[in-house]
Symmetry: C2
């Protein structure tokens, strides 16, 4: 497969979207929103090509129906699209259904049913724990046994390009007796990968079954208001600090496209309980980077890391999620947790990069950042690097907008 | 209104469902699931009566479409049904569309979009805090400023009557070095009221706007595995301990039906920030009780309390929920938090009733309980008591079933 070429010439050069990728998105070129797959700098209008008896799966502008149809359908679709886009004999029939990415708007690729976020990166947990509880108590006692997760808010998940408005919230510094209602002054990113659940479950599932349920992966930025979080999160966890927005990439890279890039999770420091043990490699070698561009200025890459840094894989997280009997549904989204590597340059949040705001980050433009400023555009990029091609996700981007003017009823 | 009678004679006696109530449910009498309102011991098949141009709102077996249609539609429907069920002249046309409750199965009254649970009862927070952190640190520092909440799992919300299977999970006692995977041995109830969000929002809403968005209320039991919770909840809050099941009553009592029972929240011990201040009374005087019946035995009422014991109202919780800009949607469900009164007999969980398992509760049958046993049926009942009538919710009930046999892949 690695030598396969497409008759779409832009798919064979420097692109996130070679024939080996075929990620799933939703686009609108002015003729209505519909499902598509990226190929080079084009989008194939998927509903416009022949799918035989499966045609009904492509009629809504979301991939949920395809996901619900099951793994045989996923495999058949991938095989069909691979032929259509690589076989020169198909070109005449298929080419009219290509739309330039440059002339299309990319929309949410699926309806998010429920959203769960995890805390499964060891370096991130160590960094944050050290800042808040000291180096000796950095990792919570349960951390090496449980892929720690919490439920997030599906209504706040948005597609790349959606502006992100700085939130208001309750904040209180250590020297204040009472909280104030104020715009977050410590607004941050979290570099993550999101797993898209493509099959439902009732009752407990194994790690292998969980892997089989995953349709694909997206880049994910879980925007976080650190000052709101610090005041609200005890005893029941983050709530409004994580509810402003979670941005995902417009393309779901399917599990099939990532198959060649599987890697093992790191060696276990504590043996896992049997229900969490992996039957094979379930992380992926996906290079990730974060760029920050101040308003009107060029971008600085502020972090480079890799998804293989995670301690728990998405199938482990999903298996744990079902351990209580919790039903999972098509369209559920699982955030990996912040992906930080072992060195400063590989940290996936400004909280870590600026060490709690105490070590400002110097951008290439000369400006400094502890947390995000209004006008900053944050962009996550990621790709698995194959032999002569790369499997990319496209950009996962958002610009920070000033907080809204406070309504009269909320003023003191 | 309080003197109004129905031509359905059972609606005028000892019933949760007089003409003043008209709660919204979904039933199946063998002829398919459809929306209905309870009246005495009958259900009116709502879609079968004439709604003019609004007829399309009643075609699916869920109240979401009606909720989305907005408050004018809610008021018009209530007025129309009140006439149909009180005016003797309507009897001949309407009576054929009554179905005995005894011959119908009650189903989920609405599709739950997202589920949020709060921690807004002062007595409950004090009791739990005292047990876990000691009397001096019982209330978290933020508690008097924030209606503390966390996102729950919508896929686990079930209707009254659904069996509840005791969950497996990671547990670790203080004298164990490592966790075990075991059935929860401290499985508990939480007596709550649920607010059903009937209108969507973008951006911050006031407490008054939040109140206007609420379609109605249900009884709610947030089943909780205390041993799983104790091991998992630091630092990001409860997750699998709350994901097994949340049971709601089959009837949504509308806000309109509760209007006469509004009461103020208790006096503030700390002044609230302006965005949380209430323009009027937003709690309700709703008497609540919990019954526990061991397998094959009669029920003991183990707690009696009242929704007016809460420190924060549902509109305050909903306003706080939107403070970060979080979008709310039709069908969102907000759990009040456990409703405990000031005395032992008014505590809304076994954790509190048995004081962490140290003071077993004696049932009328002679048995003792610290936490729930297999075969126990737990039933919450509630009603607002009017002048000569009561506005009830029907039973919110669930029977605890033994945990599943562990699959081979999860065995040590």
């Amino acid at each position: 497969m690695s030598g396969l070429k497409s008759w779409v010439s832009s798919a064979n050069g420097d692109t996130d979207f070679p024939i080996q990728n075929l990620p799933c998105g939703v686009f609108d070129d002015g003729n209505g929103a519909r499902v598509g797959v990226a190929i080079g700098d084009m989008i194939l209008d998927v509903a416009a090509v022949d799918h035989g008896q499966d045609a009904g799966l492509f009629s809504e502008p979301a991939w949920n129906a395809v996901m619900a149809a099951g793994r045989d359908i996923w495999a058949a679709l991938r095989a069909r699209l691979t032929v259509l886009l690589s076989d020169e004999a198909q070109r005449k029939a298929v080419e009219p259904h290509l739309v330039p990415q440059a002339s299309a708007q990319l929309l949410m690729p699926f309806r998010v049913t429920e959203y769960t976020d995890f805390y499964a990166g060891r370096n991130h947990a160590l960094n944050v724990g050290t800042m808040f509880r000291g180096a000796e108590n950095a990792l919570p006692a349960n951390w090496l046994s449980i892929p720690i997760g919490y439920n997030g808010r599906a209504s706040s998940v948005v597609v790349s390009g959606t502006p992100v408005i700085r939130p208001w919230g309750q904040v209180k510094s250590a020297d204040e007796a009472l909280p104030r209602f104020a715009p977050s002054a410590r607004f941050d990113l979290e570099l993550e990968l999101g797993a898209v659940v493509g099959q439902s479950s009732e009752g407990m599932v194994s790690v292998q079954q969980a892997d089989d349920m995953i349709f694909g992966y997206v880049l994910l930025n879980d925007w976080s208001a650190r000052d709101i979080q610090a005041w609200e999160y005890q005893p029941l966890g983050p709530f409004q600090s994580k509810a402003t927005a979670t941005t995902i990439s417009p393309w779901i890279v399917t599990r099939a496209a990532l198959e060649a890039f599987r890697v093992d999770t790191p060696e276990r420091e504590r043996e896992l309980l049997p229900y969490l043990r992996e039957p094979g490699p379930m992380l992926y070698d996906i290079a990730l980077e974060v760029g920050l561009a101040p308003e009107g200025k060029r971008e600085t890459v502020i972090a480079r890391t890799n998804y293989r840094e995670m301690y728990y894989s998405a199938p482990q997280q999903l298996a744990h999620h079902t351990s209580s009997g919790c039903a999972m549904r098509v369209g559920d989204l699982l955030g990996s947790g912040t992906i930080s590597g072992p060195v400063r340059e590989s940290r996936g949040s400004l909280l870590e990069l600026s060490w709690g705001g105490s070590e400002p980050l110097r951008l290439d433009t000369g400006e400094e950042r502890c947390f995000l400023e209004n006008g900053d555009t944050l962009t996550i990029r990621g790709a698995a690097l194959g032999d002569g091609y790369r499997i990319g996700f496209g950009a996962c981007s958002g610009k920070v907008m000033p907080s809204i003017e406070l309504p009269d009823w909320a003023k003191s």
